[in-house]
Protein backbone atom coordinates (compact mmCIF):
# COMPACT_ATOMS: atom_id res chain seq x y z
CA UNK A 1 0.00 0.00 0.00
CA UNK A 2 2.73 2.49 1.01
CA UNK A 3 4.87 1.46 -1.93
CA UNK A 4 2.54 3.22 -4.38
CA UNK A 5 3.04 6.51 -2.59
CA UNK A 6 6.81 6.16 -2.71
CA UNK A 7 6.73 5.56 -6.47
CA UNK A 8 4.31 8.42 -6.83
CA UNK A 9 6.52 10.80 -4.85
CA UNK A 10 9.55 9.85 -6.96
CA UNK A 11 7.55 10.43 -10.14
CA UNK A 12 6.33 13.81 -8.86
CA UNK A 13 9.87 14.96 -8.00
CA UNK A 14 11.14 13.82 -11.40
CA UNK A 15 8.37 15.67 -13.21
CA UNK A 16 8.93 18.88 -11.25
CA UNK A 17 12.71 18.72 -11.82
CA UNK A 18 12.45 17.65 -15.48
CA UNK A 19 12.71 21.13 -17.12
CA UNK A 20 16.12 21.64 -15.50
CA UNK A 21 17.55 18.71 -17.41
CA UNK A 22 15.96 18.75 -20.85
CA UNK A 23 15.87 21.05 -23.85
CA UNK A 24 12.89 22.88 -25.33
CA UNK A 25 11.92 20.05 -27.66
CA UNK A 26 11.73 17.44 -24.91
CA UNK A 27 9.82 19.92 -22.78
CA UNK A 28 7.21 20.34 -25.49
CA UNK A 29 6.88 16.54 -25.74
CA UNK A 30 6.48 16.33 -21.96
CA UNK A 31 3.80 19.04 -22.07
CA UNK A 32 1.98 17.09 -24.76
CA UNK A 33 2.14 13.92 -22.66
CA UNK A 34 0.64 15.75 -19.69
CA UNK A 35 -2.05 17.24 -21.89
CA UNK A 36 -3.10 13.80 -23.06
CA UNK A 37 -2.78 12.34 -19.57
CA UNK A 38 -5.06 14.98 -18.11
CA UNK A 39 -7.62 14.82 -20.91
CA UNK A 40 -7.53 11.03 -20.82
CA UNK A 41 -8.25 11.17 -17.10
CA UNK A 42 -11.23 13.42 -17.80
CA UNK A 43 -12.59 10.96 -20.36
CA UNK A 44 -11.88 8.11 -17.97
CA UNK A 45 -14.30 9.57 -15.41
CA UNK A 46 -17.12 8.97 -17.84
CA UNK A 47 -16.03 5.72 -19.49
CA UNK A 48 -13.67 4.11 -17.02
CA UNK A 49 -15.62 4.91 -13.89
CA UNK A 50 -19.25 5.21 -14.99
CA UNK A 51 -19.09 3.04 -18.12
CA UNK A 52 -20.49 5.63 -20.54
CA UNK A 53 -18.56 5.54 -23.83
CA UNK A 54 -17.98 8.94 -25.38
CA UNK A 55 -16.36 9.06 -28.80
CA UNK A 56 -16.97 12.78 -29.16
CA UNK A 57 -14.88 14.33 -26.42
CA UNK A 58 -13.32 16.70 -28.97
CA UNK A 59 -16.63 18.55 -28.55
CA UNK A 60 -15.68 19.68 -25.05
CA UNK A 61 -12.07 20.44 -25.98
CA UNK A 62 -13.28 22.52 -28.91
CA UNK A 63 -16.06 24.40 -27.16
CA UNK A 64 -13.78 25.04 -24.17
CA UNK A 65 -11.01 26.30 -26.43
CA UNK A 66 -13.27 28.54 -28.49
CA UNK A 67 -15.11 29.95 -25.47
CA UNK A 68 -11.99 31.08 -23.62
CA UNK A 69 -10.24 31.93 -26.89
CA UNK A 70 -13.05 34.15 -28.15
CA UNK A 71 -13.31 36.06 -24.89
CA UNK A 72 -9.59 36.76 -25.05
CA UNK A 73 -9.61 37.52 -28.77
CA UNK A 74 -12.57 39.89 -28.75
CA UNK A 75 -12.40 41.46 -25.30
CA UNK A 76 -8.82 40.88 -24.20
CA UNK A 77 -10.02 39.15 -21.04
CA UNK A 78 -7.69 36.37 -19.89
CA UNK A 79 -8.64 32.72 -19.50
CA UNK A 80 -9.33 32.90 -15.76
CA UNK A 81 -12.71 34.37 -16.60
CA UNK A 82 -13.07 32.47 -19.87
CA UNK A 83 -12.46 29.22 -18.04
CA UNK A 84 -15.77 29.51 -16.22
CA UNK A 85 -17.67 30.28 -19.39
CA UNK A 86 -15.98 27.31 -21.07
CA UNK A 87 -16.86 24.99 -18.19
CA UNK A 88 -20.47 26.18 -18.02
CA UNK A 89 -20.98 25.75 -21.75
CA UNK A 90 -19.43 22.28 -21.78
CA UNK A 91 -21.36 21.09 -18.74
CA UNK A 92 -24.56 22.37 -20.33
CA UNK A 93 -23.77 20.56 -23.59
CA UNK A 94 -22.89 17.39 -21.71
CA UNK A 95 -26.14 17.53 -19.78
CA UNK A 96 -28.15 17.99 -22.97
CA UNK A 97 -26.48 14.94 -24.55
CA UNK A 98 -26.82 12.98 -21.32
CA UNK A 99 -30.47 13.92 -20.92
CA UNK A 100 -31.33 12.90 -24.47
CA UNK A 101 -29.53 9.59 -24.11
CA UNK A 102 -30.33 8.54 -20.56
CA UNK A 103 -33.90 9.80 -20.52
CA UNK A 104 -34.73 7.81 -23.64
CA UNK A 105 -32.71 4.74 -22.78
CA UNK A 106 -29.97 5.17 -25.39
CA UNK A 107 -26.90 3.31 -24.21
CA UNK A 108 -23.75 1.55 -25.34
CA UNK A 109 -22.72 2.12 -28.94
CA UNK A 110 -25.83 4.20 -29.62
CA UNK A 111 -24.80 6.58 -26.89
CA UNK A 112 -21.32 6.71 -28.44
CA UNK A 113 -22.90 7.54 -31.82
CA UNK A 114 -24.84 10.37 -30.21
CA UNK A 115 -21.62 11.85 -28.79
CA UNK A 116 -20.01 11.68 -32.26
CA UNK A 117 -23.06 13.32 -33.81
CA UNK A 118 -22.90 16.25 -31.39
CA UNK A 119 -19.18 16.79 -32.03
CA UNK A 120 -19.76 16.62 -35.78
CA UNK A 121 -22.61 19.06 -36.02
CA UNK A 122 -20.86 21.44 -33.64
CA UNK A 123 -17.91 21.39 -36.03
CA UNK A 124 -20.21 22.19 -38.95
CA UNK A 125 -21.89 24.93 -36.93
CA UNK A 126 -18.56 26.53 -36.02
CA UNK A 127 -17.55 26.55 -39.67
CA UNK A 128 -20.37 29.03 -40.20
CA UNK A 129 -19.76 31.27 -37.20
CA UNK A 130 -17.92 34.28 -38.56
CA UNK A 131 -17.58 35.78 -35.10
CA UNK A 132 -15.26 32.88 -34.28
CA UNK A 133 -13.37 33.05 -37.57
CA UNK A 134 -15.32 30.34 -39.38
CA UNK A 135 -13.34 27.73 -41.29
CA UNK A 136 -10.44 30.20 -41.62
CA UNK A 137 -9.72 29.79 -37.93
CA UNK A 138 -9.23 32.06 -34.94
CA UNK A 139 -5.76 33.27 -34.00
CA UNK A 140 -4.81 34.49 -30.55
CA UNK A 141 -2.05 37.06 -30.22
CA UNK A 142 1.15 35.08 -29.85
CA UNK A 143 2.61 35.14 -26.39
CA UNK A 144 5.56 37.08 -25.09
CA UNK A 145 7.84 34.15 -24.54
CA UNK A 146 10.07 35.64 -21.85
CA UNK A 147 7.79 36.83 -19.05
CA UNK A 148 5.23 34.89 -17.02
CA UNK A 149 1.98 36.75 -17.61
CA UNK A 150 -0.07 34.41 -15.48
CA UNK A 151 -3.14 36.66 -15.53
CA UNK A 152 -3.47 36.29 -19.30
CA UNK A 153 -1.85 32.86 -19.37
CA UNK A 154 0.87 34.02 -21.76
CA UNK A 155 4.46 33.06 -21.12
CA UNK A 156 7.35 30.75 -21.83
CA UNK A 157 6.87 27.01 -22.50
CA UNK A 158 7.90 26.34 -18.94
CA UNK A 159 4.71 27.99 -17.68
CA UNK A 160 2.56 25.75 -19.86
CA UNK A 161 4.48 22.70 -18.74
CA UNK A 162 3.98 23.45 -15.07
CA UNK A 163 0.33 24.38 -15.41
CA UNK A 164 -0.34 21.10 -17.23
CA UNK A 165 1.63 19.23 -14.58
CA UNK A 166 -0.47 20.85 -11.87
CA UNK A 167 -3.70 20.01 -13.69
CA UNK A 168 -2.67 16.39 -14.20
CA UNK A 169 -1.71 16.06 -10.54
CA UNK A 170 -4.97 17.63 -9.37
CA UNK A 171 -7.00 15.37 -11.64
CA UNK A 172 -5.12 12.33 -10.38
CA UNK A 173 -5.63 13.18 -6.72
CA UNK A 174 -9.24 14.17 -7.36
CA UNK A 175 -9.99 10.90 -9.12
CA UNK A 176 -8.21 8.95 -6.39
CA UNK A 177 -10.61 10.32 -3.80
CA UNK A 178 -13.62 10.18 -6.10
CA UNK A 179 -13.14 6.46 -6.68
CA UNK A 180 -13.22 5.90 -2.94
CA UNK A 181 -16.29 8.04 -2.39
CA UNK A 182 -19.99 7.32 -2.77
CA UNK A 183 -19.83 8.61 -6.35
CA UNK A 184 -17.02 6.20 -7.20
CA UNK A 185 -18.92 3.22 -5.82
CA UNK A 186 -22.13 4.23 -7.56
CA UNK A 187 -20.42 4.86 -10.89
CA UNK A 188 -18.63 1.55 -10.84
CA UNK A 189 -21.85 -0.22 -9.91
CA UNK A 190 -23.59 1.41 -12.89
CA UNK A 191 -20.68 0.46 -15.13
CA UNK A 192 -20.80 -3.17 -14.01
CA UNK A 193 -24.56 -3.68 -14.05
CA UNK A 194 -27.00 -0.85 -14.30
CA UNK A 195 -30.12 -2.86 -13.44
CA UNK A 196 -28.55 -4.22 -10.26
CA UNK A 197 -27.31 -0.74 -9.37
CA UNK A 198 -30.82 0.63 -9.63
CA UNK A 199 -32.24 -2.20 -7.53
CA UNK A 200 -29.79 -1.17 -4.79
CA UNK A 201 -31.34 2.27 -4.65
CA UNK A 202 -29.07 4.18 -7.01
CA UNK A 203 -30.76 6.85 -9.12
CA UNK A 204 -28.78 5.82 -12.19
CA UNK A 205 -30.02 8.71 -14.34
CA UNK A 206 -28.78 11.31 -11.90
CA UNK A 207 -25.38 9.68 -11.34
CA UNK A 208 -24.74 9.16 -15.04
CA UNK A 209 -25.55 12.82 -15.61
CA UNK A 210 -23.09 13.73 -12.85
CA UNK A 211 -20.34 11.69 -14.54
CA UNK A 212 -20.97 13.38 -17.89
CA UNK A 213 -21.02 16.84 -16.29
CA UNK A 214 -17.76 16.30 -14.43
CA UNK A 215 -16.03 14.78 -17.44
CA UNK A 216 -17.20 17.67 -19.64
CA UNK A 217 -16.04 20.26 -17.13
CA UNK A 218 -12.61 18.67 -16.82
CA UNK A 219 -12.24 18.34 -20.59
CA UNK A 220 -13.22 21.97 -21.15
CA UNK A 221 -10.10 22.96 -19.18
CA UNK A 222 -8.01 20.98 -21.68
CA UNK A 223 -9.64 23.10 -24.35
CA UNK A 224 -8.75 26.36 -22.62
CA UNK A 225 -5.17 25.15 -22.32
CA UNK A 226 -5.15 24.15 -25.97
CA UNK A 227 -6.31 27.60 -27.10
CA UNK A 228 -3.66 29.47 -25.14
CA UNK A 229 -0.86 27.02 -25.86
CA UNK A 230 -1.32 26.66 -29.62
CA UNK A 231 -2.90 30.09 -30.25
CA UNK A 232 -4.82 28.96 -33.32
CA UNK A 233 -8.13 27.17 -33.57
CA UNK A 234 -9.78 25.61 -36.61
CA UNK A 235 -13.18 23.87 -36.36
CA UNK A 236 -12.24 21.03 -38.71
CA UNK A 237 -9.18 20.33 -36.61
CA UNK A 238 -10.27 20.71 -33.02
CA UNK A 239 -13.70 19.05 -33.37
CA UNK A 240 -12.50 16.25 -35.62
CA UNK A 241 -13.19 12.61 -34.93
CA UNK A 242 -9.43 12.01 -35.02
CA UNK A 243 -9.02 14.30 -32.04
CA UNK A 244 -11.63 12.36 -30.08
CA UNK A 245 -9.90 9.08 -30.86
CA UNK A 246 -6.49 10.53 -30.03
CA UNK A 247 -7.81 11.57 -26.61
CA UNK A 248 -9.11 8.15 -25.68
CA UNK A 249 -6.14 6.12 -26.94
CA UNK A 250 -4.13 6.99 -23.83
CA UNK A 251 -6.58 5.60 -21.28
CA UNK A 252 -7.52 2.67 -23.54
CA UNK A 253 -3.91 1.61 -24.06
CA UNK A 254 -2.94 2.49 -20.49
CA UNK A 255 -5.91 0.77 -18.86
CA UNK A 256 -9.53 1.93 -18.78
CA UNK A 257 -10.88 2.67 -15.33
CA UNK A 258 -7.47 2.77 -13.65
CA UNK A 259 -5.97 5.93 -12.18
CA UNK A 260 -2.55 5.49 -13.74
CA UNK A 261 -3.77 4.16 -17.08
CA UNK A 262 -4.38 7.54 -18.72
CA UNK A 263 -1.02 8.92 -17.56
CA UNK A 264 0.91 5.83 -18.51
CA UNK A 265 -0.88 5.42 -21.83
CA UNK A 266 -0.30 9.06 -22.79
CA UNK A 267 3.42 8.73 -22.07
CA UNK A 268 3.79 5.47 -23.97
CA UNK A 269 1.86 6.68 -27.03
CA UNK A 270 3.48 10.09 -27.29
CA UNK A 271 6.99 8.70 -26.86
CA UNK A 272 6.19 5.89 -29.27
CA UNK A 273 4.97 8.29 -31.93
CA UNK A 274 8.11 10.39 -31.53
CA UNK A 275 10.34 7.36 -31.32
CA UNK A 276 9.00 5.91 -34.55
CA UNK A 277 9.50 9.23 -36.34
CA UNK A 278 13.12 9.39 -35.22
CA UNK A 279 13.83 5.73 -35.88
CA UNK A 280 12.44 6.04 -39.41
CA UNK A 281 14.49 9.18 -40.00
CA UNK A 282 17.61 7.40 -38.78
CA UNK A 283 16.92 4.47 -41.08
CA UNK A 284 16.25 6.80 -43.95
CA UNK A 285 12.87 5.23 -44.79
CA UNK A 286 10.71 7.83 -46.38
CA UNK A 287 7.60 5.94 -47.40
CA UNK A 288 4.40 7.95 -46.92
CA UNK A 289 2.20 6.60 -44.14
CA UNK A 290 4.79 4.18 -42.80
CA UNK A 291 4.75 5.87 -39.41
CA UNK A 292 1.03 5.22 -39.07
CA UNK A 293 1.56 1.60 -40.02
CA UNK A 294 4.09 1.06 -37.23
CA UNK A 295 1.98 3.01 -34.76
CA UNK A 296 -1.02 0.88 -35.67
CA UNK A 297 0.94 -2.34 -35.32
CA UNK A 298 2.03 -1.43 -31.80
CA UNK A 299 -1.55 -0.56 -30.79
CA UNK A 300 -2.70 -3.83 -32.28
CA UNK A 301 -0.12 -5.75 -30.28
CA UNK A 302 -1.10 -4.02 -27.02
CA UNK A 303 -4.79 -4.68 -27.57
CA UNK A 304 -4.11 -8.31 -28.44
CA UNK A 305 -1.69 -9.20 -25.69
CA UNK A 306 -2.74 -6.80 -22.93
CA UNK A 307 -6.48 -6.38 -23.40
CA UNK A 308 -6.83 -4.62 -20.04
CA UNK A 309 -4.15 -2.09 -20.97
CA UNK A 310 -0.51 -1.71 -20.12
CA UNK A 311 -0.90 -0.33 -16.63
CA UNK A 312 -2.48 -3.39 -14.93
CA UNK A 313 0.39 -5.42 -16.39
CA UNK A 314 3.06 -3.02 -15.12
CA UNK A 315 1.33 -2.78 -11.74
CA UNK A 316 1.61 -6.54 -11.43
CA UNK A 317 5.34 -6.41 -12.14
CA UNK A 318 5.82 -3.61 -9.60
CA UNK A 319 3.58 -5.56 -7.22
CA UNK A 320 1.26 -2.71 -6.45
CA UNK A 321 -2.50 -2.61 -6.51
CA UNK A 322 -4.14 -0.85 -9.46
Amino acid sequence: MRKEFVYLAILAVLMVALPAFVGPYALSVATLILYFAYTGQAWNVMMGFAGQLSLGHSLYVGVGAYAAGAIFFHYGIGPWAGLWVAMLLCVALGLVIGFLAFRFGISGVYFALLTIAFAEFTRIGFDHLDWLGGPGGMFLKVAQRDTWDVLNFRGPPLMYYYSMLLLTALAFVGCYFLLRSRAGYYWQAIRENEEAAQALGINTFRWKMAAVALSAAMTSISGVFFAFYYNNLFPHEIFSMNRSIELILGPVIGGIGTLFGPIFGAAVLTLLSDGITEALAALGWEIPGIKQVFYGLVLLAVVMFLPHGIWPFVAKILRITR
Partner: protein, 241 residues
Protein backbone atom coordinates in the same frame (compact mmCIF):
# COMPACT_ATOMS: atom_id res chain seq x y z
CA UNK B 1 -50.93 -5.92 9.92
CA UNK B 2 -49.86 -6.35 6.31
CA UNK B 3 -46.49 -5.14 5.21
CA UNK B 4 -47.43 -5.50 1.57
CA UNK B 5 -50.83 -5.49 -0.07
CA UNK B 6 -51.22 -6.37 -3.72
CA UNK B 7 -54.66 -5.36 -4.89
CA UNK B 8 -56.10 -6.53 -8.21
CA UNK B 9 -52.99 -5.91 -10.25
CA UNK B 10 -52.84 -6.75 -13.95
CA UNK B 11 -50.13 -6.60 -16.55
CA UNK B 12 -50.17 -7.39 -20.25
CA UNK B 13 -47.29 -7.58 -22.68
CA UNK B 14 -48.38 -6.86 -26.25
CA UNK B 15 -51.82 -8.22 -25.60
CA UNK B 16 -50.60 -11.24 -23.69
CA UNK B 17 -52.06 -11.13 -20.22
CA UNK B 18 -49.21 -12.12 -17.88
CA UNK B 19 -50.98 -11.22 -14.66
CA UNK B 20 -54.68 -10.65 -14.30
CA UNK B 21 -56.41 -9.27 -11.27
CA UNK B 22 -54.00 -10.81 -8.78
CA UNK B 23 -54.41 -9.97 -5.10
CA UNK B 24 -52.62 -11.11 -1.97
CA UNK B 25 -51.25 -9.79 1.27
CA UNK B 26 -47.96 -10.30 3.02
CA UNK B 27 -48.27 -10.02 6.81
CA UNK B 28 -45.48 -8.05 8.51
CA UNK B 29 -42.76 -10.25 9.93
CA UNK B 30 -43.79 -13.35 8.01
CA UNK B 31 -42.16 -15.51 5.39
CA UNK B 32 -44.29 -15.94 2.29
CA UNK B 33 -43.97 -18.02 -0.80
CA UNK B 34 -45.32 -17.41 -4.25
CA UNK B 35 -45.33 -20.56 -6.33
CA UNK B 36 -46.72 -21.68 -9.63
CA UNK B 37 -45.69 -23.42 -12.82
CA UNK B 38 -43.51 -21.79 -15.47
CA UNK B 39 -45.12 -18.79 -17.09
CA UNK B 40 -47.63 -18.37 -14.28
CA UNK B 41 -46.67 -14.69 -13.88
CA UNK B 42 -44.56 -14.94 -10.74
CA UNK B 43 -41.63 -12.93 -12.00
CA UNK B 44 -43.94 -10.34 -13.54
CA UNK B 45 -45.64 -9.76 -10.19
CA UNK B 46 -42.25 -9.61 -8.57
CA UNK B 47 -41.01 -7.04 -11.05
CA UNK B 48 -44.08 -4.90 -10.54
CA UNK B 49 -43.48 -4.83 -6.80
CA UNK B 50 -39.78 -4.02 -7.38
CA UNK B 51 -40.62 -1.15 -9.72
CA UNK B 52 -39.31 -2.64 -12.96
CA UNK B 53 -42.77 -2.39 -14.54
CA UNK B 54 -45.78 -0.35 -13.56
CA UNK B 55 -48.97 -2.42 -13.37
CA UNK B 56 -51.66 -1.72 -15.99
CA UNK B 57 -54.22 -1.65 -13.22
CA UNK B 58 -54.55 -2.20 -9.49
CA UNK B 59 -52.52 -1.03 -6.51
CA UNK B 60 -49.45 -2.11 -4.63
CA UNK B 61 -49.28 -0.78 -1.09
CA UNK B 62 -46.20 -1.08 1.11
CA UNK B 63 -46.52 -0.06 4.76
CA UNK B 64 -49.61 1.95 3.94
CA UNK B 65 -48.05 3.80 1.01
CA UNK B 66 -48.67 3.19 -2.68
CA UNK B 67 -45.52 2.10 -4.46
CA UNK B 68 -46.83 0.99 -7.84
CA UNK B 69 -45.24 3.03 -10.60
CA UNK B 70 -42.20 4.02 -8.55
CA UNK B 71 -38.73 3.47 -10.06
CA UNK B 72 -36.66 0.53 -8.75
CA UNK B 73 -34.33 2.86 -6.80
CA UNK B 74 -37.34 4.53 -5.16
CA UNK B 75 -38.79 1.15 -4.23
CA UNK B 76 -35.44 0.27 -2.65
CA UNK B 77 -35.39 3.56 -0.77
CA UNK B 78 -38.92 2.81 0.48
CA UNK B 79 -37.53 -0.30 2.21
CA UNK B 80 -37.81 -3.19 -0.24
CA UNK B 81 -34.73 -5.19 -1.19
CA UNK B 82 -34.63 -7.64 -4.08
CA UNK B 83 -32.45 -10.30 -5.66
CA UNK B 84 -32.31 -11.29 -9.32
CA UNK B 85 -33.15 -14.75 -10.58
CA UNK B 86 -30.24 -14.49 -13.02
CA UNK B 87 -27.59 -13.17 -10.66
CA UNK B 88 -26.18 -9.77 -11.52
CA UNK B 89 -22.97 -9.29 -9.55
CA UNK B 90 -20.76 -6.25 -10.15
CA UNK B 91 -18.22 -8.62 -11.64
CA UNK B 92 -15.25 -6.26 -11.72
CA UNK B 93 -15.60 -5.22 -8.08
CA UNK B 94 -14.62 -7.20 -5.01
CA UNK B 95 -17.25 -9.07 -3.01
CA UNK B 96 -16.93 -6.48 -0.24
CA UNK B 97 -17.30 -3.55 -2.65
CA UNK B 98 -20.42 -5.18 -4.12
CA UNK B 99 -22.03 -5.15 -0.70
CA UNK B 100 -20.74 -1.66 0.13
CA UNK B 101 -22.71 -0.32 -2.86
CA UNK B 102 -25.88 -1.69 -1.25
CA UNK B 103 -24.92 -0.50 2.22
CA UNK B 104 -24.46 3.09 0.97
CA UNK B 105 -28.23 3.26 0.56
CA UNK B 106 -28.60 3.80 4.31
CA UNK B 107 -25.10 4.66 5.48
CA UNK B 108 -23.88 8.23 5.28
CA UNK B 109 -20.18 7.46 4.87
CA UNK B 110 -18.20 4.90 2.93
CA UNK B 111 -16.49 3.84 6.16
CA UNK B 112 -19.86 3.19 7.77
CA UNK B 113 -21.01 1.26 4.72
CA UNK B 114 -17.82 -0.81 4.84
CA UNK B 115 -18.52 -1.80 8.43
CA UNK B 116 -22.14 -2.70 7.74
CA UNK B 117 -21.14 -4.66 4.62
CA UNK B 118 -18.57 -6.61 6.63
CA UNK B 119 -21.13 -7.73 9.19
CA UNK B 120 -23.51 -8.87 6.45
CA UNK B 121 -20.77 -10.86 4.73
CA UNK B 122 -20.09 -12.64 8.02
CA UNK B 123 -23.76 -13.44 8.39
CA UNK B 124 -23.80 -15.07 4.96
CA UNK B 125 -20.46 -16.82 5.35
CA UNK B 126 -18.79 -14.79 2.61
CA UNK B 127 -16.30 -12.93 4.80
CA UNK B 128 -13.37 -15.13 3.77
CA UNK B 129 -13.99 -14.13 0.15
CA UNK B 130 -14.51 -10.41 0.79
CA UNK B 131 -11.45 -9.30 -1.17
CA UNK B 132 -11.94 -11.59 -4.18
CA UNK B 133 -13.41 -10.20 -7.38
CA UNK B 134 -17.10 -11.12 -7.60
CA UNK B 135 -16.41 -12.68 -11.01
CA UNK B 136 -14.42 -15.45 -9.29
CA UNK B 137 -17.34 -16.69 -7.17
CA UNK B 138 -19.14 -19.98 -7.77
CA UNK B 139 -22.88 -19.95 -8.45
CA UNK B 140 -23.95 -20.68 -4.84
CA UNK B 141 -21.68 -17.88 -3.63
CA UNK B 142 -23.04 -15.52 -6.27
CA UNK B 143 -26.54 -16.27 -5.02
CA UNK B 144 -25.35 -15.49 -1.50
CA UNK B 145 -23.80 -12.27 -2.75
CA UNK B 146 -27.14 -11.31 -4.32
CA UNK B 147 -28.79 -11.76 -0.93
CA UNK B 148 -25.97 -9.94 0.89
CA UNK B 149 -26.25 -6.92 -1.36
CA UNK B 150 -30.02 -6.74 -0.96
CA UNK B 151 -29.77 -7.12 2.81
CA UNK B 152 -27.14 -4.36 2.94
CA UNK B 153 -29.79 -1.83 1.92
CA UNK B 154 -31.52 -2.59 5.27
CA UNK B 155 -34.85 -3.59 3.74
CA UNK B 156 -37.98 -4.25 5.79
CA UNK B 157 -39.29 -6.48 3.01
CA UNK B 158 -36.96 -8.80 1.12
CA UNK B 159 -38.00 -10.11 -2.29
CA UNK B 160 -36.20 -13.30 -3.30
CA UNK B 161 -36.46 -14.39 -6.93
CA UNK B 162 -35.63 -18.10 -7.23
CA UNK B 163 -32.67 -17.70 -4.95
CA UNK B 164 -32.52 -21.47 -4.34
CA UNK B 165 -32.56 -22.52 -7.98
CA UNK B 166 -29.35 -24.27 -8.95
CA UNK B 167 -28.29 -24.96 -5.36
CA UNK B 168 -27.59 -28.44 -4.04
CA UNK B 169 -29.95 -29.64 -1.28
CA UNK B 170 -27.38 -28.98 1.48
CA UNK B 171 -26.66 -25.49 0.15
CA UNK B 172 -30.36 -24.93 -0.09
CA UNK B 173 -30.81 -25.89 3.56
CA UNK B 174 -28.04 -23.49 4.60
CA UNK B 175 -29.77 -20.69 2.77
CA UNK B 176 -33.08 -21.58 4.41
CA UNK B 177 -31.35 -21.30 7.80
CA UNK B 178 -29.98 -17.86 6.93
CA UNK B 179 -33.41 -16.53 6.03
CA UNK B 180 -34.99 -18.06 9.09
CA UNK B 181 -32.36 -16.46 11.31
CA UNK B 182 -32.76 -13.04 9.79
CA UNK B 183 -36.53 -13.29 9.91
CA UNK B 184 -36.46 -14.30 13.56
CA UNK B 185 -33.74 -11.92 14.71
CA UNK B 186 -34.75 -8.80 12.82
CA UNK B 187 -38.39 -9.41 12.01
CA UNK B 188 -37.62 -9.03 8.31
CA UNK B 189 -40.61 -9.80 6.10
CA UNK B 190 -39.74 -12.11 3.23
CA UNK B 191 -41.54 -12.86 -0.02
CA UNK B 192 -39.95 -15.60 -2.05
CA UNK B 193 -40.68 -16.90 -5.48
CA UNK B 194 -39.53 -20.47 -5.83
CA UNK B 195 -39.58 -23.49 -7.98
CA UNK B 196 -37.81 -25.53 -5.34
CA UNK B 197 -40.73 -26.84 -3.28
CA UNK B 198 -38.41 -28.18 -0.62
CA UNK B 199 -37.33 -24.65 0.27
CA UNK B 200 -40.79 -23.14 0.10
CA UNK B 201 -42.31 -25.84 2.29
CA UNK B 202 -39.52 -25.48 4.82
CA UNK B 203 -39.59 -21.71 4.98
CA UNK B 204 -42.92 -20.21 4.13
CA UNK B 205 -45.76 -19.72 6.59
CA UNK B 206 -48.09 -18.53 3.86
CA UNK B 207 -48.16 -19.55 0.24
CA UNK B 208 -49.92 -18.12 -2.76
CA UNK B 209 -50.28 -20.20 -5.90
CA UNK B 210 -50.33 -18.52 -9.28
CA UNK B 211 -51.62 -20.09 -12.46
CA UNK B 212 -52.08 -18.30 -15.80
CA UNK B 213 -51.59 -14.97 -14.05
CA UNK B 214 -54.28 -15.58 -11.44
CA UNK B 215 -54.02 -16.41 -7.77
CA UNK B 216 -55.78 -19.78 -7.55
CA UNK B 217 -55.04 -20.69 -3.93
CA UNK B 218 -53.77 -19.14 -0.71
CA UNK B 219 -53.03 -20.66 2.66
CA UNK B 220 -50.51 -22.53 4.77
CA UNK B 221 -48.19 -25.01 3.01
CA UNK B 222 -50.33 -27.93 4.24
CA UNK B 223 -53.55 -26.38 2.96
CA UNK B 224 -52.05 -25.48 -0.38
CA UNK B 225 -50.65 -28.93 -1.21
CA UNK B 226 -54.05 -30.50 -0.60
CA UNK B 227 -55.95 -27.95 -2.65
CA UNK B 228 -57.44 -29.71 -5.68
CA UNK B 229 -56.96 -26.63 -7.88
CA UNK B 230 -53.26 -26.62 -7.07
CA UNK B 231 -52.87 -30.33 -7.70
CA UNK B 232 -54.61 -29.87 -10.99
CA UNK B 233 -52.33 -27.15 -12.23
CA UNK B 234 -49.17 -28.92 -11.12
CA UNK B 235 -50.07 -32.52 -11.93
CA UNK B 236 -52.84 -32.17 -14.46
CA UNK B 237 -56.54 -32.87 -14.18
CA UNK B 238 -57.65 -36.11 -12.58
CA UNK B 239 -59.37 -38.32 -15.04
CA UNK B 240 -61.41 -41.38 -14.23
CA UNK B 241 -60.81 -44.35 -16.41
Amino acid sequence: MSALQVKNISKSFRGLRAVSDASFEVPAGSINGLIGPNGAGKTTIFNMIAGVYAPDGGEIVFEGRRIDGLRPDQVCAAGIGRTFQLVKPFAGLTVLDNVIVGALQRERTVAGARGHAGSILRKLGLDAKAQLPASSLTLPDRKRLEVARALATRPRLLLLDEVMAGLRPTECDQMVEVFRDINRAEGLTILLIEHVMRAVMALAQHIGVLHHGEVIARGTPEQVVRDPAVLECYLGEETKV
